[in-house]
C-alpha cells in the first residue's frame, strides 16, 4: 500500500476495518448471534464504545448496514451483534461462517447517557429484537453493579422460541441484584413457567417504582412503544428520563448521507438514543 493511500484511508470515516467472525449461532429461527473481533489487535483493543452505540457492518458484494452493538464495553476485545435476516446485507451475513471476514466501522451515535444514570434505578423494557441494543446497557449495569440502584429487566417475545438470549436471561433470574420479568404473548410449548401476555402485562408485577429516581429504557417493535410509553408515563417517570433507541435507514453513520433524518435530527449523530421528551413532538417517530 502506498503512503498516499494510507493517509487517505486514515482520515476517511467511510473505510471499514476488516473484522473476523469468532463465533456465530442461531438465537431464534431468524436471528443469529455474531461475535466479532477486529483483525488488527491494536484496533480491536482500542475500539472504545458506549452501550447504545452502533456500528456499520459490510459484507463484500452485498453492501453495508447499521447494527446495534449487543456486547458491553466492560468486556473489551470482542464485539457482539444479534442480527435478523431481513434484507440483502443480513442475508449475506447469515451465509458467513466462523473465521470469515466482514468490514466494520464505528462506533457511531450517542449511546446511553450512563453518567446521568449513575445511582439511579434502571428499568429496561425490551420486546423482540429490541434486546439487541439493550443487552449492552443491561450487561454494562450488571458489570458495574455498584454504580446503579435497582436494575429491572422486562422482556417480552411472541413465543418462547422467539425470545432472544433466552438462556442468558433465564440464568440472570437467579441473581438477587436484578429483578427480571419475562413474558411471551403465547406459549406453544406448554413448558413456559413465566408470564403470558404482551410486555405491558409485566408492569403490574413490578415492585413499587420511585419515578424521579428511575431511568426507563425502551426498545422493541414499533407497535410496542405506544403501550409501553403509556405505562411508563402512568408510573410518573419523567419523560426526559425515558430513553428509547430508534432504527432508521443509514448509509453512512456519520451524518452525511441524510437517510436517517427526522425533522431536525440525524439519528446517526443525535441518536439513536433519544429521550421521550426529545421525540414527543416528532410525528413520524416510530
Amino acid at each position: 500500500m502506498n503512503e498516499a493511500n494510507k493517509s487517505l484511508i486514515l482520515n476517511n470515516p467511510f473505510i471499514p476495518e476488516p473484522a473476523r467472525i469468532v463465533r456465530t449461532y442461531y438465537l431464534t429461527e431468524d436471528v443469529k448471534f455474531f461475535q466479532v473481533r477486529i483483525a488488527k489487535m491494536e484496533k480491536a483493543l482500542s475500539f472504545d464504545y458506549r452501550p447504545g452505540q452502533f456500528a456499520m457492518i459490510s459484507v463484500l458484494g452485498a453492501g453495508e448496514a447499521p447494527f446495534s452493538i449487543s456486547s458491553t464495553p466492560s468486556r473489551p476485545g470482542l464485539l457482539e451483534f444479534c442480527i435478523r435476516k431481513t434484507g440483502v446485507v443480513t442475508n449475506a451475513i447469515f451465509r458467513l461462517k466462523e473465521n470469515d471476514l466482514i468490514g466494520l466501522r464505528g462506533p457511531y451515535g450517542n449511546g446511553f447517557p450512563i453518567e446521568k444514570m449513575i445511582n439511579k434505578d434502571v428499568l429496561i423494557v425490551m420486546g423482540g429484537l429490541g434486546a439487541a441494543p439493550l443487552r449492552s446497557v443491561l450487561l454494562y449495569s450488571l458489570d458495574n453493579r455498584d454504580l446503579f440502584g435497582r436494575v429491572i429487566l422486562l422482556h417480552g417475545a411472541k413465543r418462547p422460541a422467539e425470545m432472544i438470549f433466552r438462556e442468558e436471561f433465564f440464568s440472570l433470574k437467579d441473581r438477587d441484584d436484578l429483578e427480571c420479568l419475562l413474558a411471551v404473548d403465547g406459549d406453544d410449548t406448554g413448558e413456559w413457567k413465566e408470564k403470558i401476555g404482551v410486555v405491558t402485562t409485566l408492569f403490574p408485577h413490578l415492585k413499587e417504582i420511585e419515578p424521579s429516581n428511575t431511568y426507563a429504557i425502551v426498545c422493541g417493535p414499533p407497535v410496542m412503544y405506544k403501550f409501553v410509553l403509556k405505562e411508563l408515563v402512568n408510573l410518573d417517570i419523567p419523560k426526559h428520563q425515558i430513553l428509547m433507541t430508534l432504527e432508521r435507514r443509514m448509509k453512512c453513520g456519520v451524518g452525511k448521507c441524510g437517510h436517517c433524518a427526522i425533522d431536525y435530527i440525524y439519528t446517526c449523530l443525535d441518536g439513536p438514543v433519544f429521550t421521550y421528551w426529545n421525540v414527543i413532538h416528532m410525528r413520524e417517530l416510530i
Partner: protein
C-alpha cells in the same frame, strides 16, 4: 480584501493564463436559455449571460456518481480520482452561499474527505448576476457575498471591478498584474453604487423566510401537505437541482470474476419512496406528503434552528424545474395563507375538467 479593475477584453486572456494547469469549469449554453457548468476546452463555449445553471456547482465537487473505494476482504483502496486542481468560473452569489452551506455540512463532526479534498483544490472565480422573475436571493440575503470566493468579477458594462477574496486569488492576479488597474476613480465607485442600486430594484420575487420556521410548526398537520402530496410526482428533480441538497445512497458493485467490489455513492433524494425504507419493508415516510414535508422542514426550519438561517439560497432552480409548481415560493406563500396560482393548487379543477 482588495478591489481592482480589469478591462473586459483582458478577461479571457487572463482566464487562459491562470487555468493552464487546472480544469476550468464555466457556464455553457445547453439549449435555449438553459445553461450548465461544463469543463471548458474552448473559451468560445463560455456564456456569461446566464441566470442559473440546471444543476448547481456542487456536482463539480461531488459528481452524481462517485466511486469511493475498492474493497477486497482484506484491504480497501480509496479512490480520489475526482479530485483535481479546478477553477470554477462564472458562479453567482447564490451558488457561493450554496457551497458555503455544503462546506459547513460536510466538515461538521466527521469530515467528508471526498467533498473537502475536491473543494480544497477548487478556486472560485465568481461573476455578478442580474435577477430574473424566479430569483429569490434578496429574500434569503444571498444576493451578495462576503466570503467564499477567490476572485469576484462585477460586470460594470465597460469593465470589471474585481474583488480579491483570498490569498490564492491574489496569487492569480500576480500571474498577470499588467492586466489590472489598482487605481479606482470616483467615477468607478459611483458606477458600482449605481449598478448595485439598479440591481436591487430589479428583484421581482420575494418570500417571507423569517416566518417559515413558525409556520412549518404551526401548519405541520395542515391539509395543504396532502394537497401537495397529491400533485407531487416524486421525481426527485427538486433535490437534483437544489444547491443545498446533499443526500446520497451507497451501493456495493461486485466486479465479475474478481473477489472485489467497487463501493459507489450516488445522489439520492428524500422525495423518492425507497429513501426511508428499512430492512423488512418498514417505511417511515411512505406518503409523498410526508416526504415533501421533510424536504421543506429540513430547509426552512431545521437549518434555521441549527445555523440561524435557512438552507435556501434563493437560486430559483426549484421554481423553474418542478413540473407541478411545488417550489419554495409556492409552498412558502401557501404556508403564509396566500392563494397561490400553481398547478398543484389548480390540480383538482384541471384534472376533472
Amino acid at each position: 480584501m482588495r478591489i481592482i479593475k480589469l478591462e473586459k477584453k483582458n478577461l479571457f486572456p487572463f482566464l487562459k493564463i491562470v487555468s493552464e494547469d487546472a480544469d476550468l469549469w464555466a457556464p455553457v449554453r445547453k439549449y435555449k436559455d438553459r445553461h450548465v457548468f461544463s469543463l471548458i476546452e474552448d473559451f468560445s463555449q463560455i456564456d456569461l449571460r446566464y441566470t442559473r445553471t440546471i444543476i448547481p456547482p456542487r456536482k463539480i465537487m461531488l459528481p452524481s456518481s462517485l466511486d469511493m473505494y475498492t474493497a477486497t476482504e482484506k484491504r480497501y483502496d480509496v479512490n480520489f480520482s475526482h479530485v483535481s486542481k479546478k477553477i470554477l468560473f462564472g458562479i453567482h452569489p447564490c451558488d457561493i452561499h450554496g457551497l458555503l452551506i455544503m462546506d459547513r455540512f460536510y466538515s461538521q463532526i466527521f469530515d467528508d474527505p471526498y467533498y473537502s479534498q475536491a473543494r480544497a483544490d477548487t478556486l472560485i472565480l465568481a461573476h455578478s448576476c442580474w435577477p430574473d422573475e424566479y430569483c429569490l436571493c434578496k429574500s434569503t440575503h444571498t444576493h451578495i457575498v462576503e466570503e467564499g470566493y477567490d476572485l469576484f468579477f462585477t460586470d460594470l458594462e465597460d469593465y470589471y471591478l474585481v474583488w480579491i477574496g483570498s490569498s490564492q486569488g491574489d496569487d492569480l492576479i500576480r500571474a498577470k498584474p499588467e492586466f489590472f488597474d489598482e487605481n479606482l476613480t470616483d467615477k468607478d465607485i459611483q458606477s458600482f453604487m449605481d449598478w448595485g442600486e439598479r440591481r436591487d430594484k430589479a428583484f421581482q420575487t420575494e418570500i417571507n423566510f423569517a416566518a417559515m420556521p413558525d409556520l412549518m410548526e404551526l401548519k405541520y398537520t395542515h391539509p395543504l401537505w396532502e394537497k401537495l402530496g397529491t400533485a407531487c410526482l416524486a421525481c426527485g428533480s427538486c433535490t437534483n437541482v437544489c444547491p443545498t441538497c446533499n443526500c446520497y445512497n451507497v451501493t456495493d458493485n461486485p466486479v465479475l470474476n474478481e473477489e472485489k467490489s467497487i463501493i459507489t455513492r450516488q445522489w439520492d433524494a428524500c422525495t423518492l419512496e425507497s429513501y426511508s425504507e428499512v430492512a423488512g419493508g418498514e417505511n417511515f415516510r411512505e406518503k409523498r406528503s410526508d416526504r415533501l414535508k421533510l424536504w421543506y422542514t429540513h430547509k426552512l426550519q431545521a437549518y434555521v434552528s441549527k445555523y440561524g438561517k435557512p438552507a435556501c439560497v434563493g437560486c430559483g432552480r426549484c421554481l423553474v424545474t418542478c413540473p407541478v409548481d411545488i417550489n419554495v415560493k409556492t409552498v412558502g406563500d401557501a404556508l403564509e395563507g396566500k392563494d397561490v396560482d400553481a398547478f398543484w393548487n389548480r390540480l383538482s379543477r384541471e384534472v376533472t375538467k
